[in-house]
Symmetry: C2
Subunit: 313 residues, 2 copies
């Protein structure tokens, strides 16, 4: 099979042996695979794939059709449309995934859109609900709201009756972010005047930390998922105590199978129905053929887009 391949700091297309599904695994013919920030970090050598994933084929999410089943795999049949997060290897013509990490693609969702759902909706759902416990009526602040995880978080919080404040750096993204369900869309400068917030979803990095604590309400939670703008900042523990606040930091990729499977079950139960009814959607900024993978990565790195960049192997 052909697959996107990271080789000496560049991404190109190479021939690889077809992967074979092991016990409990499904062979997926990949139809769509979203790009994510983690791919960019892996390209720069800063985010190696976890053990058990292809070390040189990037891609943390995929959607496609079941092309084969390993021993004991029984959740899906050949031909079923499936999607899921993977530890790596999503951006090839074929991939193997444990069946418990996969979800059915709702009938209402086509390719390439399905290839952009798993990573950002799993990350956003896990962060704001499973980790931070966002409740109806609470106020959510999303930093970096125009990105993939941000657009997912806005929709998920809006759908349960949360009040969503979004910060976006690029003024051109404001209208689209508001249309996804943000009640307020702000420039990042001075956001702390608009609190108090019950939950802060931090997708930008450490420079916001001090102001996040200031803007936090009593019993507020800050969930840190992205640190592209920096990792280190001063924390005032006294200020955090006065709010009885929490800082939760997380990543998805390194989690063991049982935890990734649990996130898939949570999405099937709480998120996929929203795609079936059309309440939720994944904005797709642009699609690329596998042969154009280098251009796709350049487009992602350029930023300024709203929505996902998706490869179609």
């Amino acid at each position: 099979m052909r697959a996107a391949t990271i080789r000496d700091g560049e991404v190109l297309v190479e021939e690889h042996p077809d992967p074979e599904p092991g016990a409990g695994q499904v062979l997926v013919r990949v139809r769509a695979a979203g790009l994510n920030g983690a791919d960019q970090m892996q390209l720069r050598g800063r985010y190696p794939a976890p053990a058990g994933s292809p070390p040189d084929i990037p891609g943390l999410e995929l959607a496609g059709e079941v092309a084969g089943l390993g021993d004991g795999a029984a959740r899906f049949a050949v031909g079923d449309r499936v999607m899921g997060i993977v530890g790596g290897g999503g951006q090839g013509e074929l991939a193997v995934v444990h069946e418990r990490q996969l979800m059915p693609v709702p009938d209402a969702v086509g390719f390439p859109d399905a290839g952009g759902i798993p990573e950002v909706f799993t990350t956003a759902h896990d962060a704001i609900f499973t980790q931070a416990g966002l409740r109806p009526g609470e106020r959510l602040l999303v930093h970096g709201a125009a990105g993939g995880v941000g657009t997912a978080a806005i929709q998920l919080a809006h759908a349960i009756g949360g009040h969503v404040t979004a910060t976006v750096r690029n003024p051109d993204s404001r209208d689209a972010v508001a249309q996804l369900g943000a009640d307020e869309v702000l420039d990042p400068e001075g956001f702390e005047e608009h609190g108090p917030f019950d939950v802060v979803l931090e997708l930008v990095g450490a420079p916001n930390l001090g102001a996040n604590v200031k803007a936090l309400g009593t019993n507020g939670r800050i969930v840190v998922i992205g640190i592209g703008a920096g990792a280190k900042a001063e924390l005032n523990l006294g200020a955090l105590m006065a709010k009885r606040g929490r800082i939760m930091a997380s990543t998805l990729r390194a989690r063991p199978l049982e935890q990734k499977a649990a996130t898939a079950r949570a999405l099937e139960r709480e998120v996929l129905p929203g795609f079936a009814t059309g309440t939720l959607r994944v904005p797709v900024a642009e699609t690329f053929a596998l042969d154009d993978v280098a251009a796709a990565y350049e487009r992602f790195a350029a930023g300024g887009k709203l929505g996902k960049i998706i490869l179609e192997p």
Copy 2:
């Protein structure tokens, strides 16, 4: 009634009008009232009593006998032995407390010991179980383990089968801390070599933060309750993400009635049986008569003790 009183940065004994129990409240004839770090902070003008508590009578915990009942108060009868946390006003001959904040004193516990139980056991139980969710078999690190909250946390974690590592500054306290149930007692210097820890109970302050994150295990939780050694430190969010770790900061005093009542019910259910059987105990370092309140505060401030300083009004 006579009560410890904070006046112009000094603590002395003054006459006050007898408090009267309002609806749902209990009038308690105080027999024992523990001193806590918060009293010292209030003495220095840095921790004013919350609304609804006497502004000038210190004391966050008390034990005594029921001397009167307000409208609708029905959980206790006159003469019952009770104890509980209060927002202030514990260190007087009489105090009023909402009945749902009070707990019965187990038969096996006498005065003055009962006066040293509520604040430290509520704080420790809330921090390591309710906040951090410590589980049997997990590893707990307690910084400042010779203090009141530290000695309570060691006993509580040991009782459920946790593995407890304690740091103490004063080498003279090591044996006593080990006898309370600590599996390892360390000097604070270099503690991070002894991880990974599932839960860190921080009773000292910000200077430990960086090493706490380094010493944290996957899915580890740092609970910050005391910051006497400093409030501000650099936090590496990338390191915290790699651990999928959490920092939780909390205080008890400012919480509303319903939350304080919930902590009292949790103690009745999960902690008081340990006092009834003798598994748990509150080390008492020294007791003082109400007239000697200034000497009691000086003794507390001098440090180096293991266990509680308790006033006997």
